[in-house]
């Protein structure tokens, strides 16, 4: 691209209050990483303990009531059924909370983005940096849980890379969805809506702790439009090592929806923050 074209593009973007993100986004990521490392234990210990509590309560506790059941034509233990779900749930929650509550605090209360816009960082850089950071937090949490369920021997290792890929996509997707809510919602109290009406129902009905197919058809229909249900439909078979490469197409829509969502975030954030 020659200089004139790029300068004209700059002027057009500026009129639309948009800015192309760049590698500078990593400078925003680095800031959040430095903050996180100051209190690294708070971001490592809870995701380490949470799945252990779940495994004890649901695996040993609820699992005690369930003698085992049939899944994919095989008799499986309940604890192995929920193990991959715990991995994905951790990725979902940790990325979503990072780009909702934590990003909102950085943006609105700490005015950190404000300071950043006085430097060569553009709004696009800041948003992409925040998304990358949210995705990092979600991925880390998911991988910590994955390590635990692997240590307990609850998932098969043959297709573990599919689970890792699933964690990456889940963390990235919910990081983006979280920041979209941050762009739109007026105050921090309003985050209760997406938390309890969007994320929490997925936690319960996203093919996590029981097969949704046991519920009425309409529930299954609603669930089948949600990201968690679809991601789980690839990740759980992978945990039993019976996933086919052709099943991976189910990941694709949730990955390609990310760039347009980032554009939407930028659009709403520019209107919220720039003027």
């Amino acid at each position: 691209m020659n200089a004139t074209v790029s300068r004209h593009m700059g002027a057009t973007l500026s009129r639309l209050r948009l800015s192309a993100p760049s590698w500078y986004a990593w400078r925003v990521w680095r800031r959040n990483q430095k903050k996180c490392l100051q209190h690294w234990h708070t971001s490592v210990v809870p995701p380490l303990l949470e799945p252990i509590l779940y495994l004890v309560a649901f695996g040993a506790g609820v699992g005690y009531l369930i003698s085992g059941f049939e899944y994919g034509g095989e008799e499986v233990r309940y604890v192995t059924y929920i193990a991959p779900a715990l991995v994905v749930i951790a990725a979902m929650y940790h990325s979503f909370f990072e780009t909702t509550y934590s990003s909102f605090v950085r943006m609105y209360y700490q005015k950190i983005w404000d300071a950043m816009t006085a430097t060569p960082l553009s709004l696009g850089d800041i948003l992409v940096g925040e998304i990358l950071w949210g995705a990092t937090m979600g991925t880390m949490a998911g991988l910590i849980v994955l390590a635990i369920v692997v240590i307990f021997g609850l998932v098969e290792l043959a297709a573990i890379w599919v689970i890792v890929l699933g964690v990456l996509i889940t963390a990235s997707l919910f990081s983006v969805i979280g920041l979209l809510f941050t762009a739109i919602l007026p105050n921090i109290e309003a985050f209760n809506y997406p938390t309890f009406l969007f994320v929490f129902p997925m936690f319960l009905f996203g093919e996590t702790f029981f097969p949704v197919s046991v519920l009425p058809d309409w529930v299954v229909n609603v669930a089948s439009f949600t990201p968690l249900y679809n991601l789980m439909s690839v990740i759980r078979p992978a945990a039993y090592a019976n996933v086919a490469l052709t099943d991976l197409w189910r990941f694709v829509p949730w990955a390609i929806v990310i760039p347009p969502l980032i554009f939407a975030i930028h659009w709403f954030m520019a209107r919220r923050l720039i003027d």
Binding site: G10, R27, R31, Q110, A115, A118, T119, P120, I274
Partner: protein, 308 residues
């Protein structure tokens, strides 16, 4: 680099809903010059500054800084700007020194690169001893000084100071002023907004007075005083019904605000005459003759009513 000006703003305009915040503002700033923006709250000072630093898009007009167009190449412009905001936006998750390092990192300046300058900058604003302190433990004056040091992290060619001393006690103000003096002497181009006339008079080579989104007057502090109100002011206070009597037959400018009258005599003789007349007017409690100040210019030009 094109032109002899460090900053060139042409026909800046910006509206919010039906309010014309900035209405056709043009100015230029020479290299090494200190230009002050004066104006009441809501005059358009901060909006103008935000547009020229690429933090707010303009509806019309253009700004170049060091030859770079702000709306087309905002990164190149911001790389050479140091911006000290009106509102404290220090990073409360980090210490004083870490704030400097982080802010520098946004410019792509590595910790090692900053190391030597860090001590110099923090000593400059007398915060070196507090380099490990939590931001929340700093006083208002310390925060201001840190914001100032932070805005120098990238060794800016142009420093933009938005009300650098608002809310500071006299000691802290003088400290900030002496830092700005040093920067001026070092050749940094400075643009500052302020409500304080003494600050403007002390620091600025040239002033722009803004009101209702327009530049209403421009010049050196001395020239502005001379043009607008002349050398002297005769001020008298007392019975508000009797005060206009002093100005009877006086052909110069004067104004009355409740129990006070301000007269702007053009000559020594006129000062004498007005003083005599005021002293002999019934109901006048006190008469004062003083040199005209920038404050008189400001109030003459922008009126005495509250704006917000």
């Amino acid at each position: 680099m094109t032109g002899k000006f460090m900053i060139e703003a042409i026909g800046l305009r910006k509206s919010f809903a039906d309010l014309k915040a900035v209405d056709d503002v043009s100015f230029e700033v020479g290299r090494g010059e200190c230009l002050g923006f004066l104006g009441p709250n809501g005059a358009g000072k901060t909006t103008t500054i935000k547009m020229l630093s690429g933090q707010a898009p303009m509806d019309a007009g253009s700004v170049t800084v060091g030859g770079y167009d702000v709306s087309r190449t905002p990164r190149a412009v911001k790389q050479m700007l140091g911006i000290c905001p009106q509102e404290d936006n220090l990073d409360t998750d980090f210490s004083v020194a870490q704030n400097m390092q982080l802010y520098a990192s946004y410019f792509g300046i590595k910790k090692r690169e900053l190391a030597g300058r860090l001590e110099k900058l923090l000593r400059f604003v007398q915060l070196w001893d507090r380099r490990g302190s939590d931001i929340r433990s700093l006083s208002g004056g310390m925060k201001r000084r840190l914001l100032l040091a932070r805005s120098l992290a990238n060794e800016p060619e142009v420093l933009v100071l938005d009300e650098p001393t608002t809310g500071l006690d006299p000691q802290a103000r003088h400290q900030v002023w002496s830092v700005i003096d040093d920067l001026k002497n070092g050749g940094t181009t400075i643009l500052l907004t302020t409500h304080y006339m003494d600050e403007a008079e002390r620091l600025c080579d040239r002033l722009l007075i803004m009101d209702w989104g327009k530049i209403i007057s421009e010049g050196t502090p001395g020239a502005l005083i001379e043009q607008t109100v002349g050398h002297d002011v005769v001020e008298a206070w007392g019975d508000s019904d009797m005060l206009p009597g002093i100005a009877e037959g006086f052909e110069g400018e004067w104004e009355q605000v409740t129990r006070r009258i301000y007269l702007y005599p053009g000559s020594r003789e006129m000062v004498r005459e007005l003083m005599d007349r005021a002293e002999s007017t019934a109901g006048v409690e006190r008469v004062l003759h003083r040199p005209a100040s920038l404050e008189d210019v400001f109030l003459r030009l922008t009126g005495r009513e509250l704006r917000e």
